[in-house]
């Protein structure tokens, strides 16, 4: 029986609640209703006091979580969409992320951000905010791309002592399936070689891992190109060792992301590769991001706004031709 990415998120929360009395869930409509995406379905029935509906107050939701964490709890906060965490930005980066550095008291909270674009969702239900939160000291930012990672990294996130921004990609929720939740249980902070190759490396994360694999398949069929795909899994910390090791094999790198093009994960990857593996590069390190506009509503615009297997192939062809 197949399980999905959203099942993994739900199951991980169920297990966290079952195994750790310090865990509780807080978010809008997550109780009886089970959440906008059903990630908490049935959980309030089992733990009525630990699955709590929040008012539409993202700032207070995180403020609350910080207080609860100081008091020893490990709250998991669901934002209804990543985009609405913009309202909680201050509490995340200034209250949660600074607390351990300032006081020595850790703030182990997990903030779940339903992230990324889907057709028809438009500018305010499609954003990828990992780069925003990763910029600030004191945060951990994870971006699972597989069912097993969605599961294990959420459980690991709960166990970390830092605020973890857990970016779950909405496009993968029901589309991505697996036989079960088991995986290699890699720790947060380690990247994974999703597909090995020798001609070029694509470094990416979240839903773009799958687009990269598709592109790799196309290029393999097209010309026997063997493209290595590295799934960062967490963008902060960012496992530059695995990335550089891959570049050592391939000599070429494309950093790929779905977020806006100015700054962000892809520029961080390129910069770090330059810093730590410049001599390994046979071609300029490349980037491919979404276009520099808000995420458009119309499916046709949306499909062109984000990187696609086609645009990834095109970028890779240029990279390989250098």
């Amino acid at each position: 029986m197949a399980v999905t990415y959203i099942d993994a998120i739900r199951d991980a929360q169920e297990r966290a609640l079952a195994e750790n009395p310090k865990v509780f869930l807080y978010g809008q409509d997550i109780g009886k209703f089970g959440g906008a995406f059903k990630a908490t379905k049935g959980l309030q029935e089992q733990w009525p006091d630990r699955v709590i509906d929040a008012p539409i107050s993202e700032d207070a939701m995180i403020g609350m979580a910080v207080g609860a964490a100081i008091e020893g709890m490990r709250p998991i906060i669901e934002m209804q969409f990543a985009d609405f965490s913009s309202v909680a930005f201050n509490q995340i980066v200034n209250q949660a992320a600074t607390h351990y550095y300032r006081t020595g008291i850790p703030v182990p909270i997990v903030v779940r951000l339903p992230s990324g674009g889907t057709p028809g969702s438009g500018p305010f239900h499609s954003q990828s905010m990992e780069s925003i939160y990763a910029h600030y000291p004191g945060t951990v930012v994870v971006t699972p791309a597989t069912v097993a990672d969605a599961h294990s990294m959420l459980l690991q996130a709960v166990d970390l002592d830092d605020p973890v921004i857990y970016c779950e990609h909405k496009f993968l929720y029901r589309w991505l399936k697996s036989d079960n939740f088991e995986g290699d249980n890699l720790p947060i902070g380690k990247a994974r070689i999703t597909r090995s190759g020798k001609h070029a490396t694509v470094v990416t994360y979240s839903a773009m891992v799958h687009e990269a694999v598709r592109a790799a398949e196309i290029l393999y069929k097209e010309g026997g190109w063997e493209i290595e795909v590295v799934d960062l899994r967490s963008v902060k910390p960012l496992d530059i060792d695995t990335v550089v090791a891959s570049v050592a094999r391939t000599g070429r790198i494309l950093a790929l992301g779905e977020a806006f093009p100015w700054g962000g994960v892809t520029s961080e990857v390129v910069s770090r590769v330059c810093a730590e593996g410049f001599h390994l590069l046979d071609a300029p390190p490349m980037r491919l991001n979404a276009k520099d506009t808000p995420v458009p509503y119309h499916p046709k615009l949306w499909a062109m706004h984000r990187p696609t297997p086609e645009s990834i192939c095109e970028a890779l062809r240029n990279l390989l031709a250098y």
Binding site: F33, I56, F81, G122, F124, D292, H298, P299, K300
Partner: protein
């Protein structure tokens, strides 16, 4: 219909509701209902990508506001359940169908969808999703008019739900318009739910109108299912704001008669609520009220329904015939300044 022709004259309502105005309000309620039923059906038939959010049960509140506002003079920031207010204010139904169906000819050109549409240059703001954010924005339009010396006789308005009252943005916005004493009307349509969340998980006061005094706003309560009451109370509040009476807060009690969106069956809404005081349909109430007053006949009603059905049908048909945006011809820039075009 492709041109912006429907507009409402600047009404300075006295306490007495005129037949003409009551009929205008009701017509907008009907037109909106008919249009939204069409949109809902299109959604259920898989013709609309994303979501459809309708204002069923909230038409009296919304239309009563929109019908008092003047296109190209006043400023209105509708929210989720304000098709009736949009219609009454003067939004072309084509703006709705084109935006929902992603026609490149719509005001949002496929860049934004469903409710996130407007014609800001004509006074209809285009909402972002973040609840509460429009309050200060409307206030800003009014402040600008004041600085320019063009505020006289103008009014700004917005609607929010019970859930939106919990946002910091709503609070900051209300406080700001109160401090500036701007001619603004804010309606809280308290439909007892924010998505699935009932009021007792959203706020702890007896009635949201208890907040008016705390902001220094004049407050008005209204039964949102009672069309004549809505038209009167809201009309008077708009008139008061317009004539220098300062910002007005209205709390309308009602019940959302749909799911949160058309993807949601709203099964969490208890039957007692549906059968209770606010479970009745304001459109039924409104029709009844007009007929009782002798301001509407069944025949007229039927004619209107035919007219509005045809209008909605046509608006859908037009939008469906039109092309979506061409991604290859898009400028793909979010920058307005000519000197910076193409730079990043």
């Amino acid at each position: 219909m492709t041109e912006q022709t429907i507009s409402t004259p600047n009404k300075d309502l006295s306490k007495e509701l005129s037949k003409e105005h009551a009929r205008d309000v009701f017509r907008a309620m009907l037109r909106a209902r008919v249009l939204e039923i069409k949109l809902s059906n299109l959604y259920k038939a898989g013709k609309i990508v994303g979501g459809v959010y309708i204002g069923k049960g909230q038409e009296a509140v919304s239309a009563s506001l929109g019908a008092c506002l003047t296109w190209n003079k006043d400023v209105f920031a509708p929210l989720i359940r304000d098709q009736a207010g949009r219609t009454a204010f003067g939004e072309d139904p084509l703006d709705a169908t084109r935006t929902y169906l992603g026609s490149a000819k719509g005001p949002m050109r496929g860049r934004d969808g469903n409710l996130h549409r407007g014609r800001p240059a004509e006074g209809l703001l285009a909402m972002i999703s973040h609840l509460g954010a429009a309050v200060a924005q409307v206030g800003g339009v009014l402040l600008a008019k004041r600085i320019k010396g063009e505020l006289d006789g103008c009014v700004g308005a917005t609607c929010v739900g019970d859930g939106a009252t919990s946002t910091g943005a709503f609070h900051e916005g209300l406080n700001f318009i109160a401090v500036e004493r701007l001619p603004m009307v804010v309606i809280i349509a308290d439909n007892q739910f924010a998505y699935s969340t009932p009021n007792d998980r959203q706020y702890a006061c007896d009635d949201l109108i208890d907040r008016a005094k705390g902001y220094g706003l004049e407050g008005h309560s209204v039964d949102g299912t009672d069309m004549l009451e809505c038209a009167t109370v809201i009309g008077n509040a708009v008139a008061k704001a317009r004539s220098g009476g300062g910002p007005q807060l209205i709390v309308a009690k009602l019940l959302r008669l749909s799911g949160h969106g058309e993807h949601d069956d709203g099964s969490y809404v208890a039957t007692e609520l549906q059968e209770g005081r606010y479970g009745r349909d304001c459109n039924d109430v409104g029709k009844q009220q007009l007929i009782e007053k002798g301001w509407l006949t069944e025949l007229e009603y039927s004619k209107w329904m035919l007219e509005f059905n045809a209008e909605a049908q046509e608006a859908v048909a037009v939008a469906q015939r039109e092309d979506g945006p061409n991604p290859y011809k898009e400028e793909w820039s979010a920058i307005a300044s000519p000197s910076l075009k193409g730079l990043q």
